[in-house]
Symmetry: C2
Subunit: 203 residues, 2 copies
């Protein structure tokens, strides 16, 4: 898997879930399909009157989730910003051209109630529960720094092998110390909870 294929899959799925945080710090989520894809960025449209738009203008942090028919999850985390005034119309018209149904929702000039936001920096996580063992990988969009998640076995490992036996995905390899194969890890925490010498750390 790679970034380009992930973006292509998001485009094919079409309707994605966008999560933001509202003024009370509560999670907010909704489906968005008015999205245009470039190789290094995505642009999307929403109306200025919606809470979604306020949340983007005030905070901007957004996570986008795509679920494919092959049981793949693709998740983009980034910060959205409103594109410059002089570029608004161009991207708005591009999106309305690519997605003719939008003209039913916002007919005629009413489309001008919308703003175009862009995300060109972020992390893209790929997670596939449909394969055995499960598979995950993370890619960078723009120059975003990837924040690693999950667990790691430290040098405090005594090599007892308990973690290896208890791992639901059998993704821990023997060694000194034992090693978690990060691409196949669920992040379930079973090794972490059961290590007799607390040699496993959360990243």
């Amino acid at each position: 898997m790679d970034l380009k294929t992930c973006l292509k899959k998001m485009q094919l799925v079409g309707v994605l879930a966008f999560a933001t945080v509202d003024k009370d710090g509560a999670p907010q989520i909704r489906n968005i399909s008015a999205i245009h894809y470039e190789s290094d960025a995505l642009y999307f449209y929403t109306a200025r009157g919606k809470n979604f738009c306020q949340e983007l203008l005030e905070d901007g942090r957004v996570q986008i989730l795509c679920y494919t028919k092959y049981k793949e999850m693709i998740r983009l985390s980034g910060k959205a910003y409103a594109v410059r005034e002089e570029e608004q119309e161009k991207w708005r018209d591009t999106i309305f051209e690519e997605q003719p149904y939008l003209a039913n929702v916002y007919p005629g000039n009413t489309r001008s109630i919308g703003i175009i936001f862009c995300i060109d920096q972020g992390e893209v996580e790929y997670f596939n529960l449909g394969v055995n063992p499960i598979f995950r990988e993370t890619y960078s969009l723009g120059n975003a720094i990837i924040r690693e998640k999950g667990y790691v076995i430290t040098d405090a490992c005594i090599g007892c092998g308990k973690c290896e036996k208890l791992c639901p995905q059998r993704c821990i390899e023997r060694g000194t110390p034992y090693k978690i194969n990060q691409q196949h890890c669920l992040h379930c925490g079973n090794c972490y909870e059961n290590c007799p010498v607390q040699a496993i750390m959360r990243k």
Copy 2:
């Protein structure tokens, strides 16, 4: 539409998007399908080692989004809590029985790394962009109070009719004052922005 049908549709769609807020106040979203439905509550399973689980234990606020093949969005907002210790096993086994694929992800006893959470109070919003005009309605799960959103035309309305003409969904009716048909409102804000006497308020 009604609450019962919304819960049924969520169950039929199966894989839903769950949004929470992490320790940095950032939005987090992922797909969850390990869900059991009762008529007045839903129960779901996740592993203790996942960030998702930490976010539920620390904050608990969650929004769940369901998108049907008929272009309906169903959104449940509520607070999740871990069910009592003595009920954990019962619900866990129920979910693993209903969804046999889970045993591939968490084989044998490894399922004990998971916790069951419950949501029995919340708002359920139904939003259908696939009909013309669009349609929305909100229902209460448990005894949750529904927080109204959108816009309302106040008595300051001078009856000029500008909002009616500019509404993309033509959901504003003449009268004294004019009135927004809330079931068909996009919450786009076009009336609000263009009212010449600022008679329209955000709820």
